[in-house]
């Protein structure tokens, strides 16, 4: 079985190697086939492995296998081991399937690009790294994948490297996630030195034995890991890079910044949930950050005009939901939301890509309108995605996952009423901006004449993803609507479930209705405002207080300005002061010494004969002196 795991990672990795080494020599068609085919093959292998795993589950619930021995230094042993259990099964399937469809879409979307091969190479490297991340049994191997996806994110955001805004956005993304990565590395080092091993199962078992809940050390480690997760998942306070990352190609945004990389933080926390359970304060922090981010992201999404930035803020907000669930101890609920989110967010991005393509690159929604006639399939898929995002009741996957989260948060011991209420408000806001997006783009008067709809290779992925966005939810439904619990049963062995305290646990149905009501309310308000254009709203939005709040939302709550003033500008000043860089003085000392010696000695080479004769004379004197006195 281990061979197949190795293959899942190796296929995209070798595609990357071939594509990057051949440059553009392969030509567009072959590069596309190689790039897309490798991931498709990987998806098939993953599917086969999953089916086998589900059919005959292994004794402990997981399979491991070692590819090779990596580090053996003192007491620390790190091997390249893979671990396949319920959690990694879900992650691998989602990653490979979604990536396969996105790459199929890219074959046509990126056609005509100068660096076609490079795009597919980096996408494959990304998929390989992400798979390594989720299949890793050892924290250091996970970190390897973590860094790999960070690198690919940088490379792909800055894919159009001649565009300055793309380059700056890539750098911003890299630097901000680096802050998180450093914290993560510190956490890993702490774990290695305190527990002596970095294997995940060792960590989880040893942590439970070595530390008790509420102690300082697990809290510190958990906090460091949380910072790493925050950076990668674009949560408060390291969230400003995600909207700017939309400067990259749309499929990149779909794959990396919606479905997979940004969820790496969620995966990390879920995987090491045993450690987090030992630090209840940090869990509360996780929930608080999640709640704050989901509200902030939603409000900013509502105020944005660029369609891709709306989706970026939306991603930020939805991951906030996942963090909220994680903070409340509802690991399974968070992972379920990850699955549904991957489908509908990737779908929305790809559909947005088709829309942007057809209106000649225009991304401002207020300049679009009335596109539903010319882009019918896209419109249908986009609607499916928007409904799932807004969590409209019963027929969308988003509804089930969001409800699961809200219920778990309300009912669990580490959750509570306030986080739940934030989530509920967020659901309303989500509905608001999702349908705002839909109505602004596809309804109303047409402002730009769109090109005809795209071909099958771009439409097939969004149709499949739309189907998934509507039906995946049926894996886990509340008791009132069928009581299916396939997903949680699958994940229980690995993740466990939170303890659901009494008061709200029995009010599942009421909570269900409230959640449904919130999203429907959002739909209703958006409908009235953007489709019916009621004057009531016009006067409301013109009020100065509302305008200033709206302005704040549009700026992403001024985080960028704040960071720029507090951190970036002082740093630039320091850099300018240190232009000569005194820290380099030590290493350049030898070079400068040599230069000075050269300058001094070359004075003796002045071409004058008398100086040479003087040298001979003094040299003779010196030699005689040595001869005499020794």
């Amino acid at each position: 079985m281990i061979a197949s795991f190795w293959l899942i990672v190796a296929l995209p990795l070798s595609a990357f190697a071939v594509l990057i080494l051949s440059g553009n020599a392969l030509g567009e068609r072959r590069s596309g086939r190689l790039g897309c085919g490798a991931v498709m093959l990987s998806a098939i292998v993953a599917a086969i492995a999953s089916v086998r795993f589900l059919r005959t589950p292994p004794p402990n619930g997981y399979l491991t296998g070692t590819a090779w021995h990596w580090i053996a230094s003192g007491p620390l042993r790190v091997d390249l081991t893979f671990r396949f259990d319920a959690l990694s099964l879900v992650m691998v399937l989602v990653i490979t399937v979604v990536a396969a469809f996105i790459l199929l879409y890219s074959v046509r979307f990126m056609a005509g690009e100068k660096d076609y091969g490079r795009y597919f190479a980096f996408m494959n490297l990304f998929v390989a790294s992400m798979l390594l991340l989720v299949l890793a049994d050892d924290l250091l191997v996970l970190f390897l994948g973590w860094e790999g996806v960070g690198l690919c994110s940088y490379l792909l955001i800055g894919f159009w490297y001649r565009d300055e805004s793309a380059v700056l956005a890539a750098r911003k993304a890299f630097v901000m996630t680096r802050i998180g990565d450093t914290a993560l590395l510190l956490g890993i080092i702490l774990l290695a030195t305190r527990l002596g091993s970095l294997r995940i199962e060792d960590i989880l078992s040893m942590a439970g034995n070595a530390w008790h809940a509420g102690a300082a050390l697990p809290a510190v480690v958990a906090l460091l890991l949380l910072l790493g997760a925050i950076g990668k998942s674009a949560q408060l306070p390291l969230q400003t890079w995600l909207p700017d990352a939309m400067a990259g190609p749309t499929p990149v945004s779909a794959l990396i910044h919606a479905a997979t990389m940004v969820t790496a933080g969620v995966y990390l926390i879920a995987r090491l949930h045993g450690l987090f359970e030992l630090a209840p304060l940090v869990m509360r922090l996780v929930a608080a950050l999640g709640a704050a981010t989901l509200l902030l992201g939603g409000a900013a999404a509502f105020a944005e005009r660029d369609i891709k930035r709306v989706l970026a803020y939306s991603t930020m907000s939805q991951i906030g939901y996942m963090f909220l669930a994680l903070g409340a101890g509802a690991w399974t609920a968070a992972m379920f939301h990850f699955v549904t989110h991957a489908f509908f967010k990737a779908l929305l991005f790809l559909a947005a890509g088709i829309v942007i393509h057809s209106v000649n690159g225009e991304r401002d929604m207020l300049k679009m309108g009335g596109l539903w006639r010319k882009l019918p399939l896209t419109f249908a898929a986009f609607t499916a995605g928007a409904c799932s995002l807004a969590a409209l009741p019963v027929f969308t996957a988003g509804f089930y996952s969001k409800d699961f989260i809200l219920y778990s948060v309300a009912a669990s011991a580490s959750g509570g009423i306030i986080p739940w209420f934030c989530g509920l408000t967020g659901a309303f806001i989500t509905g608001l901006y999702s349908f705002r997006m839909l109505f602004l783009v596809f309804f109303g008067e047409r402002k730009i004449a769109p090109a005809p709809e795209a071909g099958i290779s771009m439409l097939l992925p969004i149709i499949v993803l739309a189907a998934g966005a509507l039906t995946i939810g049926f894996l886990e439904t509340p008791p009132a609507l069928g009581g299916v619990s396939l997903f949680s049963n699958h994940m229980d062995g690995i993740l466990g479930s939170p303890s659901l305290i009494a008061p709200l646990a029995h009010d599942r149905l009421a909570l269900l209705f409230l959640a449904a009501f919130a999203s429907l309310a959002g739909f209703f308000v958006a409908w009235q405002r953007y489709l019916r254009k009621r004057r009531l709203f016009e006067r409301f939005v013109k009020a100065p207080a509302v305008m200033s709040v709206y302005g704040l939302c549009a700026m992403g709550f001024a985080f960028d300005a704040f960071y720029s003033a507090m951190i970036v500008r002082p740093f630039s000043v320091l850099v300018k002061l240190n232009k000569a860089d005194f820290t380099l003085a030590y290493s350049t000392a030898l070079a400068r010494l040599t230069q000075t010696a050269h300058a001094l000695l070359s004075r003796t080479q002045n071409g004058k004969v008398r100086f040479s004769v003087m040298g001979i004379a003094l040299g003779a004197a010196l030699l005689l002196a040595i001869g005499i006195f020794s």
Binding site: G607, R610, A617
Partner: protein, 103 residues
């Protein structure tokens, strides 16, 4: 004839050699440099003669003859070179010929 102390001859020779060396080092005029070289050669020859005298061998004088011949040849060529350079660059300054310096 009573012998002159060997050390005194050596001293004379050395002093003459040193004088010649000082002349080579200090003067900038090419002709004077050549002149000082002659002083040095002469001093070396003196030492040879002294040595030959000390050991009753004629070889010292033979060596002086050779040195003499070499000095003559060298002066010939040296003066020819000086004249040629003077014709080309109108100066007798030894320091003017510094094209080989480190730039």
């Amino acid at each position: 004839m009573t012998p002159i102390p060997f050390e005194q001859i050596l001293l004379l020779g050395t002093v003459l050699f040193v004088v010649g060396l000082a002349g080579v080092l200090a003067r900038r005029n090419l002709i004077l440099i050549l002149l000082s070289i002659e002083i040095m050669l002469n001093a070396a020859g003196l030492i040879f003669i002294a040595g030959g005298s000390k050991f009753h061998e004629p070889d010292g004088q033979v060596m002086f003859l050779f040195i003499l011949a070499v000095a003559a040849a060298e002066v010939t060529i040296g003066l020819a070179l000086i004249l040629a350079q003077n014709h080309a660059s109108r100066t007798l300054d030894a320091d003017a010929a510094d094209q080989l310096r480190d730039r």
